[in-house]
Structures are given as structure tokens and as C-alpha cells.
């Protein structure tokens, strides 16, 4: 008989928003942004087409929201709690975290790759991508400086290459890619 309280509405919105983002994340990651229609998305999320637009202004905006969420999760990965000087030990922990994250969040990384490799999508997310890549690069540069590399920027590029390669190979064939062996192999490089 009474209207819902603001708090109730807030909860509904937050939960439904998550529900949509999760559904879209899975669809986009596994089938590609353009290949998934709003209709399919709504069906998959268990809501009506119209409701999508109650939560996201457009399909593009939905993609941006997903990307922001993906990036925020990933940034936590790259956000070291310890402020201590990075060293070999730190790097090992860092890689550990990274590989574990990859294993347990494969969908996020698929999304990440899908986004990065589709020019049309890149266009949409240009700004967000630039902003998101700043932090990890900074961290890696700190490691490289601490490890005494003469050309830290080049070493960062190499590290990025390694990491991109790992992601790419792993999500292409998670069953067969020897993730652990690769981790050891990489660690050996920085001993």
C-alpha cells in the first residue's frame, strides 16, 4: 500500500544492474560484442529489452560500464598493498597474484582481449583504455627500476609482451596451456 522506500529502490537497482552486467559480460566475452544483440542479452539476463535502457543509456554505454568494472577488478590486482620497495620477492608475489587471477577470472580476461582486439570496440572505449593502462605500466616500471635495468622502459615493454602473450595463449586454450610451467619460466628470467 505504501511506495517502496528509497533504500529499497536503491537495492533493486544495484542488484539488477549487477545481474545485467554479469550476463552481458559472459555474452560479450564468449561471443563478441557485435554478435550479441540487446534482445539476446535481455533474454539471457532474464529481463525485458526495455529494462536494459532503464539501467544503461545504450548498448555502447553498457559496454563501457562493463569495461569499467572489468578494469576496476583488474586494477585491484595491480594495486600492491605493500608499499615496500619492489624486489625479486615482490615480483614473485606479483606474478603469483597475476596468474591466479587469470585462472579464476578467465571471463574477465576474455572480455579484456575481446575489447582490445576489436577495432570498433576500441573506438568506443578509447579513453577508458588509456586511463586503465596507466597504473599497471607504472607498477611494472617501478619493478624494472628496482631490478636495475638500464633501459626500464624497454624492459616494461618486454614484460607487457610476456603478460599479453600469457593472457592470449591461456584464454585461447585454457585446458592445455601450461600456465604453471610458464610462470616458473618467467620467474627464472628475473632471478
Amino acid at each position: 500500500m505504501c511506495p517502496r522506500t528509497d533504500k529499497q529502490f536503491e537495492e533493486i537497482r544495484e542488484s539488477k544492474r549487477s545481474q545485467i552486467i554479469d550476463a552481458a559480460l559472459e555474452c560479450f566475452a564468449t561471443r563478441g560484442y557485435h554478435a550479441v544483440s540487446i534482445s539476446e542479452l535481455a533474454d539471457f539476463a532474464g529481463i525485458s529489452k526495455g529494462l536494459m535502457y532503464n539501467y544503461f543509456k545504450s548498448k555502447d554505454e553498457l559496454l563501457k560500464s562493463i569495461f569499467k568494472q572489468v578494469m576496476s577488478v583488474m586494477l585491484q590486482l595491480f594495486d600492491p598493498d605493500k608499499k615496500g620497495l619492489p624486489g625479486k620477492e615482490e615480483l614473485e608475489k606479483y606474478l603469483d597474484r597475476y596468474f591466479n587471477h587469470l585462472k579464476s577470472n578467465i571471463i574477465l580476461w576474455k572480455m579484456y582481449m575481446a575489447v582490445f582486439s576489436q577495432p570498433a570496440v576500441q573506438e568506443i572505449l578509447k579513453d577508458e583504455i588509456l586511463e586503465a593502462s596507466r597504473k599497471p605500466l607504472e607498477i611494472m616500471e617501478n619493478y624494472c627500476k628496482a631490478l636495475g635495468y638500464k633501459d626500464p622502459k624497454a624492459e616494461v615493454a618486454f614484460m607487457s609482451t610476456l603478460m599479453s602473450g600469457v593472457i592470449f595463449e591461456y584464454i585461447s586454450d585454457p585446458e592445455n596451456y601450461p600456465l604453471d610451467k610458464i610462470k616458473k619460466r618467467i620467474l627464472k628470467l628475473y632471478q
Copy 2:
């Protein structure tokens, strides 16, 4: 005014086919498969929409044809003329060829990545992909064995990772990626 011979017709067809494939390759690689319409493609290739369907049964078929061509070009890269035992020197030449190829055929590699990140397309091209990757993997395994690695398969996975990473990073930002430094860095690993 004399009627063309069958051979001439065949040549015309073949040349026009190439013309279309080249145009489509450039469009798809730079803007993405879904973002390019048949209309735009026809304009870009300098022919009419209708004629496209004279050469390719559908847009999907066109994509498959392009991918086959891309793969055939890449296989040449991985087809060593010299049958000599692989060693450090050979590896250096191999990497040289690889990096040069990447530099001068960036469009092909963009296409290659684009295909890999489109699940729907992957499905269609599964077999071609598998077949195409056989040869390079074999070659790399030979190198690894020759270099005395205890676990050659793991080292091959690492090499693949490196190469995927290089492709990915390079095509993402060709202007700024230090391709040559990365090549040296990789060679240092195998000295």
C-alpha cells in the same frame, strides 16, 4: 573485338578476386568485420555490391577466403628453405624473418588477431587454424630440442607466448612498440 579466351576470363576473374580480397582485408583488419558493410566494401574495392556476390557467396564466405589467404602467406614464413640443423644462428634468422614479416605485413597480423578474438569466426575456422599452427609449432619444437631444453614442449609454449605477445603488443600500437629492442631481448634469452 575478338572474344576473350577462357584463359583470359580466368585471369580477369582471379585478378578481380584478389582486388576484392585485398580491399576486404584492409577494411576488416582496420575496422573490424562487423563494422564494415558490404556496401562500403564494394565502394572501397571499386566495384558494385552485386559483383561481390559473383565472387563470394556471402560475407562470411569472403571472410573465410581472406583467412585462408592470410594463413597461406603466413605458412610461407614458417617454411624454412634450409633443412640444416637448427641452432642459435638459425633461431636468430628465424626470429629475424618473423619480426620483419610482422613489420611489413601488419595488416595480415591484425586480421589474424581479429579472427582469433571473434569466437563466432573461430568456430567457423577451427580446422584451418589448427592446421595452420601445426607447422610453426613443429619448427619451434625442433629448435628447442636442438637447444637442449629438458622440457621442449614447455619451452615451445613459452616461445608461443612470446610471439603472441609480440604480435599483440605490436599491432596494438605499432608506432610506439620497440620491436627491435624486444627482438634483442628475446635473442638474449637463447644465447
Copy 3:
């Protein structure tokens, strides 16, 4: 804390109804019926979408209600208090009232014109329109007879033409239309 009386409820309802009609009148008149959504309307009126439907069965019904109100206000304009015989002096007063009304109720007249130019709406409001135009026409006919016109019906048509023209031109560009000069010009016709 005492429960409201029925009368209070009634007053609240009536006042809220007015609030909605006023808001809708302004929106429709300035931006057009189709261009204004119920959502915008509710925002503008400071209530929720749902409540709109508590007061009006549909958007069309709302329009009808507005038009009825517009017509009732206009009928007052054409309802002369004085029953004295119409003459030149009366006509002047009549036009005065008319022009002043136009100036101070431009929104009502915009609405009136908007309705007339929407065939779909005309259909809905056919009867209301006919009924509403009876009175002014009657008054004008009386004037014409009193002024001694041989063909009073034709002169009424001419007067209607003048008035429609004034409305049309004035609401099209209220800033620049010389309303007062036009009034004088018309009065000169009937001296």
C-alpha cells in the same frame, strides 16, 4: 494525524489535477504533443509517472482534458456580460478583450492551434470543437447584423479569417508581430 475528510481529499485531488494539466499544457503547447513523453511530463509536473495514470486514463485522455479546459477558458472570453445591443463601441471592446486575452494567454492559443493542426487529435475532439465555436460565431454574427451587413454570414467568415490570422501570426512570432497596430487596422475596417 486525524484522517482527512472526504472534502480534503477531493481538494487535494483537484489541485494535483490542475498541477498536471498546467504542466502538460505548457509542455504540449511549446514542444508538441508527440514530442513530450509521459516521463518528461511527470518530471516537469513534479510527480511520478504512475501518478499520472491515477488522474488520467491515458495520454490521449490527458490531451482531451487539457483541450476542454482550454475551451472553457476561451468561452469565457466570448461570453459578453453586457446584453446591450452590439455596436461599434461594443465591437471595439470585444476586440480589446480578444487581443488582450491573446497576449496574456499565449500558451492557451498555442495549444488551440496545435490541436487544430493535428488531424488525429481533431478527430478525437470533433464534437468539442464544434460546440466551442458556436458561441463566438453567434456573437460575431450579431455584430455583423447590427453593423448592417447585407451578407452577415460572409462577414462573419471574414472576421473569423482575420482572427485566425491574428492568432496564427502572433503565436508564430510573438516578439515581432505588431499586435496593437493590427488591432487598430482591424478597427478601422469597422468604423
Copy 4:
């Protein structure tokens, strides 16, 4: 067996374009711009929805094209062949042309009114409207000057008022509006 010639294509395009504009003119004029959907329009014109967009970039563009055509037809009305000084005789001919035009092109004038009275449509056609009204106003001003009015601009406003009124009343009820009597009545004003 041969493709059509450019000329043939040109003819097809021109004729189909007309067909669409005519259909749209009738629909918009009688039922209103917003009330007519592209689907209905296509049906009415006897073509597919898609083809509409082969000829007009959008519904708005179609409206603009129609308005341009309407205006071009009307401008001919206001474009006197004779360059002689305007006088009473000229004015009579001018009004003659005007009233006849109204009678035989009622749809055009309905369209004109529909456009002018719908704010949303005005918005779309802002520029075109301004441009189109320049010429007739200029002509009327010349008449007024020639007729010796002290305040020609005011008299132009009065004439515009008359003409708008005539259009408005006539298209509202063509059957019963005494067009000829009104013409005489107006002429009497300028004897």
C-alpha cells in the same frame, strides 16, 4: 544481360523519388508528421521500408525534402513574371493567383500549415522556413509601398494575417468556407 545505363538508373531514381514524396506529402498533410510511421509510408507508397532509405537519409530528411518541394511550388506563386510596377490591378491578379492556387493545391497548404503549427517540426525545418518566407514578404512590401501606405511593414503584417487566416480557415473546412466571397471582401479593402 547488360546492366542498365546511367540514364535508365537516373530515370528510375527520379520517378521513384517523386512517388515517395507524393505519398509522404499526402500522408503527412492529412495525418501529421509524427502520426505517420515509415512503415505506413512505405506501404502507402507501395515500396519497402528499406527503399525509403535508399532515397532519403532519414524521416527528417524526407520531411525537409517535401518542405523544399512545397516551398518551391509556392515560390512560383509568389514570383511575378511581369516586372511592371505593382498597382491595384497587379494586386488583383496576385490575389487571384493566390486563391486559385489554394483551391487546386490544398494538400500543399495543409502540409504548410501542419509544418508551421507543430513545434517539433518547426525545429527540424527552422532554416528552410526562414529562407522560404523571405520572397513573399518582399513582394507584399513592394505592393504596400506602391499603394502608398505610410507604414508599409505594418500593412504587410496585416496582409500576412489575412492570408494566414484564409489558409487556416479554408483548409480547416474547404467545403463550407466562402473562398470567393472572401477574395472579393479583401479586394474591396485595397480599391
